[in-house]
Symmetry: C2
Subunit: 358 residues, 2 copies
């Protein structure tokens, strides 16, 4: 029995013991709220503090959450036993039923089952994926790597124009042959297709990876495994805008609502490759500026005040320049210099000169 | 020289001739507006009517659009010659520059270059992909098929848990080995992962394909090629809601703003597999209803009035039942009957009994 499954079984057995001893059945869960999120300057990760809350069965305010936690634990245990994986939405529907002899549903909204799963991550020490609950899948990868997954040998350098589609759960993937020297992660699928068509990963012996917008958990875990198991440097290529910075921030430091997962998800060594304010000046991209909206300016201020950015001079300089420009710029603005400018000049030069922001 | 490239060259040469003869340089473009979109009951496709508009160089109202069309034609020709593909966003940045000795940009908004590309599809008879301009990529595929793409042999049944990532452009793919009997297309990546984990495509000798939300052009073309070149039946699995019906409608009949592309994009033989109102009753899914919002009701009415649905009794029955329920339901509601209910019972039974809506 693996660790996560054992933790679920222990949770149940512990509660049975309490009941047999006629003690109050209760679960202790660390508090997941900004008030209990700490930025650890040493590990460069968001972490949970020590605040804990009790969830008691014989307490009207706790009883429903107590029940939800146990119901989701039972679903997770069943999934593990059947060696099947469910999505968050599936788990919601599996848990949604009326408690006998009442008008009350165990869960009414997906947010309730989602929270119970996050609590179980904390209780068991296992990730959502290890609880057999998957997030959405998205994204493609290509590069000088061969993996084994579900018995199939998959060559990331023999995937035609499409690439390998990154699953929601990458825990079981085995790296069989690793010839890549670094990973280039980009927020835009169109940029990925540009680099793929130009055989960037072949020329530069690397891995190119992308989602579309938000970085999925599958991608974050894959990047994390490539960083920790193969010591590959990870570069993030994003727009010069608050959203692009946030994409980088989540990959590097973790996210506030998943602070308890930082150890498994965040990659302190990741570096921001561009687009930067300096690129805009150097490559004359000002004519492709897009004016910052009020909401962008507010977001920029908020990000600048994050504890992990507050004393970071290179980033504060970027934020100030973005504010002074009053404008943002997209990766694709580089196409104004020629369709393959990004793969033939921009990226090779920046990587060679190590023009990154840390 | 291929047909599309030749058409671009012809366009340019024709204009040069007109100029040399001191005639007005002009381009004739069919009108792309709802007023010129016709539903062809025989082919079951949306088509463009015969209305045409002239775009003249020596006409203040036309000059800018004339210039935009030519600029995009030049970019497309260059891309074809370099055998490179650009995204819509790339093309916008490539076209965006100031006309010498003026304050005017060739394009200011991406919508302008997008429209010029659509016009060029009409003028050349080639698709956007044939003009070397790609839409966004998204989606995964797995199944009993082997393809050759960019010199790589790719087995869709050896892709581990991820699947092959569908590129934005599938025109050059060659089908090498086809053992699939049908294609199941679903709107949700999470449902795809469910069926993939259950090895649905292996047991039922089929192809499973999904995007997330909107069906990309790459996917539509891939479905179309599987339908026309391999005569595979295509089933659509979507939510029971107006959005799910619209996903089906676009795949089957084409979309209003791409009516000129229907021949290459739409698949009149595609059938809707579910979720239907009848499924909801049969499988007792009413407790998982989600109330229709005003916007859903308005959309439902609009879809019901589309010419291609207006006289379709099975669909009108579904629309009426949705309205009477006042509610919609998601595919994942089936998970309430067990995590693999969809792959072990729901889908095999429906396909066997041919319970489809046409």
């Amino acid at each position: 029995m693996n660790k996560t499954r054992k933790a679920i079984v222990d949770l149940g057995q512990d509660l049975v013991k309490k009941i047999e001893k006629k003690k109050q059945p209760q679960i202790i869960v660390p508090v997941r709220a900004l008030s209990n999120v700490i930025y650890n300057r040493k590990t460069k990760q968001l972490e949970l503090g020590n605040k804990k809350s009790e969830r008691q069965f014989f307490n009207v305010a706790h009883a429903k959450k107590f029940l939800q936690t146990l119901e989701i634990a039972a679903i997770s245990k069943e999934l593990m036993e059947e060696t099947k994986h469910a999505s968050l939405r599936d788990v919601f529907y599996m848990a949604k039923r009326t408690i006998p002899n009442t008008d009350t549903n165990i869960v009414d909204e997906q947010s309730e089952s989602d929270k119970a799963i996050e609590d179980l991550e904390l209780i068991t020490g296992g990730s959502r994926e290890q609880l057999h609950v998957n997030a959405n899948k998205n994204g493609s990868v290509a590069g000088k790597v061969t993996i084994v997954d579900k018995g199939d040998t998959i060559q990331w350098d023999k995937m035609g124009s499409g690439g390998w589609s990154i699953p929601s759960n990458v825990e079981e993937i085995k790296f069989k042959k690793m010839q890549a020297k670094y990973v280039l992660y980009m927020e835009k699928a169109a940029v990925w297709e540009r680099l793929h068509e130009d055989k960037f990963w072949e020329k530069h012996k690397c891995i190119i990876m992308s989602s579309q917008g938000q970085t999925t958990r599958g991608i974050r875990r894959l990047l994390q495994r490539l960083s920790s198991e193969h010591k590959l440097p990870i570069y993030v290529l994003a727009d010069f805008d608050p959203y692009g910075v946030y994409i980088y921030s989540v990959i590097k430091y973790g996210s506030i609502n998943l602070a308890h997962m930082s150890g498994k998800m965040s990659i302190p060594s990741v570096r921001f490759l561009g687009i930067t304010a300096d690129d805009i000046i150097k490559y004359d991209l000002k004519k492709h500026f897009i004016k910052l909206k009020d909401i962008d300016i507010a977001r920029l201020k908020q990000i600048g005040n994050y504890e992990w950015f507050k004393d970071n001079k290179p980033w504060q300089r970027q934020f100030k320049m973005m504010k002074d420009f009053g404008a943002k710029a997209e990766i694709q603005a580089l196409s104004s210099r020629g369709i393959s400018f990004i793969s033939e000049k921009y990226l090779p030069e920046k990587i060679k000169k190590n023009e990154v922001i840390d």
